[in-house]
Symmetry: C2
Subunit: 342 residues, 2 copies
DNA sequence: AGGTGCAATGATAGCGTTGCCATTACAAGC
DNA sequence: GCTTGTAATGGCAACGCTATCATTGCACCT
């Protein structure tokens, strides 16, 4: 005699396929087929079932569905921050790429912390995603191993300076740093200062910085002053740090910033302090943000197409279920925007 | 004789609890207990099992776990946009509130489109979230019904101008609009212009606008000119639209903007056009963004604590599994930031 | 010796769906 | 009439885990 277990049932009197099937006088299979829009179903049956679906307010349980079909339709996205406008822009590209597919993104934020990234990746993989899109190519050993062993497609976006696990989409930050400095050297600047943030947390900012130093060294130069802060990038920080570097090293030609937010802050300082830009001091940002273009004096900067990075990252992982034989890198490039501040 | 079905097995040679259990010579239950950190387990057993977990690279399948325990540990978050900095800030508050709990957020974006919101909510509910946090209180009828019938906790954040389904966290945008205008009237401004975006999409901007009109009408006044655009808020748009309104109505005292982005653009236009702020023309924004404070001339605006909104929204829905008898509204308030542009 | 209580572990039935057949109904062809 | 083919539907195990008992082993009492 079967013992009747009670379990957590009664919980929320959820409506299930079986409820719908019973009321519509069809089998579970038929309801399932209709809800998924797959397989052959007579029009009359479909209407009858849909009517009861509406009547009962049935919402399919994707958790059960994913378990049964062994496909979660999820794409995990791992980014370091949401407050840096750059990442929301990439997310828009990702969502655009995902639109029309039946895939859905799940976003996790690491706060530029590789240990947090490890936790976040573990949690993500537990949801059996079809693919993982992750910012950057520097991870803890454990993260690296998890991603490799997971078997799912992994696209590392933002940078292509390292060899990817599976695929990478972005551009070379080292090259971008070099390009910025070479451009400024070409315009005659010689006395460089650097204003940055993120310390050793924002690894891409660090790579650009390295590229800049490399290009300076080529010309027998180096940064004559640097002011770097921790934490997130803000206009206010850029302003304060620019004030500081100006006080510390008054004879600089040009300041390069870790990004546009900071550079805009720098410009605001100059406006307030009566420093003429670019005659007294030139400013050069990075990212090509909207705000830089709208300034009274458009900001000189390097522009990268972030929306495209997101979109192509999605394409890269949706193109095939299996990883390529050789890791692939997709270069989305960058361009110098001359502006009026350098 | 049992027929041996093949099914999609072999798929990814996934490691399961049973695999771990067999190798560690314990039962599935014990492995499960250890992975969840619940129930009594001898230290020696734990170590033995964890060793095999590491050896096999076992990652628990949360899909199966959620189905079995009838608890997904997911909190759905629905926001209109990621490019409007305001929402990432709220997300940070939400993540902060979720930290330490075992809950995890899942973010969906609606692009200020109520029909898209409906789709997004349906997809979210299919994942059986423990709660749904959704921006705003205006939804399609179907969305409203789904949320009501889902039985899960629902927190509508950003505004408290409407009666919520379950709970609301935010402030009154109508009051904020009124407060802005009354403040400006108090400072002697009489000839008002409005520069906005979002048309009838951004419903909260619209409510603030209504509040402004109401307060103007109280004083026997109205907007003498308005320039409104579609789409998302940008500094560039603010600049262009300010130029337009200045050309169209040169005698205005003060411009109120739908938000700070637009107002910053307005200030940039004034700088370029040689319009003295606030003597020739005063500017008043909304949101209290970081950039407004860092300007050479701090932007006059209204500040709301968005991080707190996110955090308290989480608190509200985690405090209890069941809805309160009466819908509750939590007012996080706002404050006028005097600044130097009005 | 025989109970008692508790720590530790095991066995198993679901959780709500879907994949994979099997089955039915009915029209067309011989 | 009897296959044969195809559209439509049904039955049921399996997905990987956890909730809920049941059981075992052992120290400690009386």
């Amino acid at each position: 005699m079967a013992k009747q277990r009670q379990r957590l049932t009664d919980r929320k009197s959820k409506v299930t396929v079986s409820d719908v099937a019973r009321l519509a006088e069809v089998s579970d299979s038929t309801v399932s087929r209709i809800m998924r829009g797959q397989g052959l179903v007579a029009e009359a049956t479909r209407e009858k079932v849909m009517a009861t679906v509406r009547a009962l307010g049935y919402v399919p349980n994707r958790i059960a569905g994913s378990l049964a079909s062994l496909d979660s339709r999820l794409v995990g996205v791992v980014i370091p921050s949401l407050s840096n406008i750059v990442f929301p822009e990439i997310l828009q590209g990702i969502n655009a790429g995902l639109a029309g597919t039946n895939r859905q993104s799940v976003i996790s934020v690491t706060d530029y912390d590789l240990d947090k990234e490890e936790v976040v990746v573990r949690n993500l993989l537990a949801w059996q995603p079809a693919a993982v899109l992750i910012a950057g190519s520097t991870h803890t050993e454990a993260t690296q191993r998890m991603l490799e062993n997971s078997g799912v497609r992994v696209v590392e976006f933002m940078e292509i300076d390292h060899k990817p696990i599976d695929a990478a989409v972005g551009f070379s930050h080292v090259s971008a740093g070099k390009a910025a400095v070479r451009h400024l050297l070409g315009r005659g600047y010689r006395r460089f200062g650097y204003v940055g943030y993120g310390g050793d947390k924002d690894l891409r900012a660090l790579m650009r910085y390295r590229g800049m130093r490399y290009a300076l060294a080529e010309a027998g130069l180096s940064f004559e002053a640097e002011v770097v802060s921790e934490g997130q990038t803000t206009v206010a920080k850029g302003r304060a740090q620019t004030a500081e570097i100006c006080a510390r090293a008054p004879d600089l030609d040009v300041l390069t910033f870790s990004n546009d937010d900071m550079a805009v802050g720098g410009l605001f300082h100059c406006m307030s302090a009566g420093i003429r830009v670019p005659d007294d001091l030139a400013l050069f940002g990075f990212n090509g943000l909207d705000i830089g273009r709208a300034l009274p004096q458009p900001l000189s900067t390097i522009r990268a197409n972030r929306f495209e990075i997101g979109q192509r990252a999605v394409e890269a992982c949706l193109s095939s279920e299996v990883r390529p034989d050789q890791p692939i890198s997709i270069d989305t490039g960058f361009e110098i925007f001359e502006g009026a501040t350098a």
